[in-house]
Amino acid sequence: MASDEQCVEYSTTCSASIAADYLRSLADRIIQGSALLQTVEQSVVLNFGSTLTFDLEAKVKPGKGKESLHLDISWKRPANTLSLESSKSAEFAVLEPENKSSIMSHKDENSAPRDSACPFLTYNGEHIKVASCPFLKPICTEASHE
């Protein structure tokens, strides 16, 4: 029996702004629920579930002068198990290096911004705001929260 698996693989060297545009386009499609990824030879329709697993890994190798950002987005449909993790005081931040001091650590959910679809990661034009996210599940954290 034939496997019902479709895949698209693509790699290129491009400007960072093109890569950023790609992420932005992908974000738009995720909101809409589906996307068609198409190369010259392959295409695949992505029907995103209502709940996604979002994995991020950032690596820096100073000795080799290399840095990388890995994103894994996975889903399973029908996604009728909207079970957002409720880990306690995980913190996640994406911000400009010079704004390290402006990290906001919201321990209180009530103090997190409410007007964003993603209250733990918002951008106000100056820097990335950081809030404690009850959904986050850090998997590479040595330090333990007290």
Binding site: T12, T13, C14, A16, L37, F54, E67, V94, C118, Y123
Partner: protein, 106 residues
């Protein structure tokens, strides 16, 4: 100067809107050129080069309703910022055809 390899990772289960906003935020950071990613007590600073390697790997198992999209953005930090030509991706991301139209075509 530290030459130690560093890595930070996290995993989150979230809604479409949250994942989308996550991507939009990362896109803004990539455009700005640098960002700090902090998970718990660990943090890492990425200084995006103007020229990056972009790898995309999408897999869908329609019969199981499962899908996975991998995106890797890597770069050499020492690359000069000049000689970056605006390229056009030959990978399109478009609205998916409705299920009805797929059924009609088949």
């Amino acid at each position: 100067m530290s030459s130690k390899n560093e890595a930070v990772s996290y995993s989150v289960s979230c809604s479409n809107d949250q994942a989308a906003e996550h991507l939009q935020t990362l896109a803004q950071c990539i455009r700005k050129g640098d960002t700090q990613i902090k998970v718990g007590e660990q943090s890492i600073v990425l200084n995006f080069s103007q020229k990056v390697d972009l790898e995309i790997d999408a897999k869908v198992k329609s019969d199981k309703g499962k899908g996975k999209l991998k995106i890797e953005i890597s770069y050499k930090t020492a690359l000069p910022s000049d000689d970056v030509s605006q390229e056009i991706l030959s990978l399109e991301i478009c609205p998916a055809p409705s299920e009805q139209s797929i059924a009609t075509q088949s």
